[in-house]
């Protein structure tokens, strides 16, 4: 499987360069800080509320992590001229995209595993169900997957990593803010914009420990569409 070969090389690239560690370390530090300062809160709260707060803040950091993890995926290959190696090898463009995305997802999973200590602390000191933690992490992984896919698309479009990060951030913010559009739009468009929003309607159930098929489907569909678009961009690049 060529995609796995590419994913393995890409993942090794993250782990061997400093940038991967810096991204994880910086976002972990901020995530921990927010957990301590805001999620735990000042007054005594129910453990489930604290856990929900943790997932609330973590969802934001997951999106940020996705932007930074995905920015190098294709833009760097283009910058370094290594894309022509992949282009001239017998593999499909979708394998390139899939491999890159899977490497990003694996690296994001490493980040998410590193955050596990926070819910475990809540579990030890309070009372929360493993199901709630599982649901929250599933949500984070799905949200991250969709963000990474959008990031892969942005990285395929951009000439360099900085541009890739900016493009991705703009697309993700637009997706997140589509609920604002929903508020001023009329029905039935309002429902469409609301359902399109990356966070507003789809993440809170996970945060509360609920897994709905429609939310899972939304994130998977967004992942697919973004990766499909990235593949088309890669194909179109062969023309110029």
């Amino acid at each position: 499987m060529k995609a796995l070969l590419i994913a393995r090389r890409e993942l090794a690239g993250y782990l061997r360069t400093l940038s991967g560690y810096i991204i994880i370390a910086a976002i972990l530090a901020l995530n921990g800080l927010f957990f301590n300062a805001f999620a735990l809160g000042k007054a005594a709260e129910r453990s489930a509320t604290v856990l929900s707060n943790f997932f609330y803040y973590s969802s934001g950091f997951t999106i940020v992590a996705s932007v930074f993890i995905s920015m190098r995926l294709l833009a760097e290959e283009r910058q370094a001229g290594t894309l022509s190696l992949l282009y001239s090898s017998p593999l499909k463009d979708r394998d390139i995209i899939l491999g890159k995305y899977l490497a990003g997802l694996a690296f994001l999973a490493v980040y998410l595993v590193c955050t596990l200590y926070m819910p475990l602390l809540i579990m030890v000191n309070g009372k929360v169900s493993a199901g709630h933690i599982f649901a929250g992490y599933l949500g984070l992984l799905l949200l991250g997957s969709a963000s990474l896919a959008v990031g892969t698309f942005g990285s395929a479009l951009a000439r360099n990593q900085v541009m890739a990060a900016i493009l991705t951030a703009v697309m993700l913010v637009a997706l997140i803010l589509s609920w604002l559009v929903a508020r001023i739009a009329e029905q039935p468009l309002a429902n469409v914009f609301s359902a399109l929003s990356l966070w507003n309607q789809h993440f809170p159930p996970f945060q509360a420990g609920l897994v709905h098929v429609r939310d899972v489907a939304y994130y998977l569909l967004l992942t697919y569409v973004a990766l499909f678009a990235a593949t088309r961009v890669l194909e179109a690049r062969r023309w110029r």
Partner: protein, 313 residues
């Protein structure tokens, strides 16, 4: 065998190459020449399956590069103008990765890597990180990645660019060593390089083919090249006698010895000898002019690509 037919590539309104057609036979080493911006890299990228042509066909071993890109890519090794290297990998890891990418079974990959390293003189840097390598080594790793899967057809875009003279000689020997087992298409600015390593030349200018054939053949058809003569005798007499053969210029004058350069095909050397002897001069040396290829190349590319049609045959 590689067939290129009617290859055209537009970048927006600008045609990088137009209606390019040539054939390369198995085992040949072809030199691909052109000035900067002539469309060399574009052509090589199309042959390397990195870029798609606007129109035209590339057929490699019977497979069409547009319809069966997979089959074609299995048969080619491509070194772009900048070697496509991953800095954070070691040479051995990188080559093994490329080998597997090009469908060498994982169990065989290591053996192929060692083989490629042997050919390109990279054995001693197998464990070195690519980011720590010098320019010459990076270029060699670039060649190694192009041949690690034993492709039938190698495309090398300026393999000697930025190398020092010793490294250039190494690269020349490397390319010569590939002759017979691989079909090689190599582009270069360094004309003596091409002259020494290649069986045949393909010269493009302004995106169009201006000539192809062996160097000798081109020189003959163009009537190009020059003849160097050394004589003892009067300058005026010598110039007058030789101007019957072609335009004459005086290269040097040293005591009674006169060095002359006649702009004419080296095939006309007997006539030069006759003219010199007939004028009662002493003939000291008679030779084909050096840098023949340079004069062919400049003639073809500076005339604005309007070469006589028979050269195109």
């Amino acid at each position: 065998m590689i067939q290129v037919e009617g290859l055209t590539k537009y970048y927006g309104e600008h045609a990088a190459i137009r209606d390019l057609a040539f054939t390369i036979n198995k085992g040949e080493v072809i030199g691909f020449l052109g000035l900067n911006g002539a469309g060399k890299s574009t052509t090589l990228k199309i042959l390397g399956c990195v870029l798609l042509p606007t129109s035209g066909r590339v057929v490699i071993d019977g497979y069409d590069a547009l319809r069966d890109p997979h089959e074609v890519r299995k048969r080619i090794g491509f070194l772009p103008d900048t070697p496509p290297l991953y800095d954070e990998m070691t040479v051995g890891e990188y080559l093994a990765f490329v080998a597997q990418l090009r469908e060498v079974p994982a169990s065989e990959a290591r053996a192929r890597v060692l083989e490629a390293e042997e050919k390109t003189g990279l054995r001693e840097v197998d464990g070195a990180l690519i980011s720590t390598l010098s320019h010459g080594y990076r270029q060699r790793v670039g060649v190694a990645q192009a041949l690690v899967h034993r492709p039938a057809f190698l495309i090398l875009d300026e393999p000697t660019s930025g190398l020092d003279p010793a490294q250039i000689r190494g690269m020349r020997e490397l390319i010569r060593g590939l002759k017979g087992t691989h079909t090689v298409l190599v582009s270069s600015h360094i004309l003596p390089e091409i002259s020494e390593t290649c069986d045949r030349l393909v010269i493009i200018h302004g995106g169009q083919l201006v000539a192809q054939g062996a160097e000798e053949e081109l020189a003959r058809k163009l009537g190009g090249g020059s003849i160097e003569v050394e004589v003892r005798g009067e300058k005026e007499k010598a110039v007058a006698a030789l101007s019957g053969v072609g335009p004459v210029s005086v290269a040097f004058e040293d005591g009674g010895v006169l060095g002359l350069r006649v702009e004419a095909s080296p095939e006309l050397r007997p006539r030069v000898a006759q003219a010199v002897v007939g004028a009662g001069l002493e003939l000291l040396r008679l030779d084909r002019g050096a840098q023949r290829l340079e004069s062919i190349f400049l003639r073809l590319t500076q005339a604005g690509g309007s070469a006589s049609p028979e050269v195109l045959s």
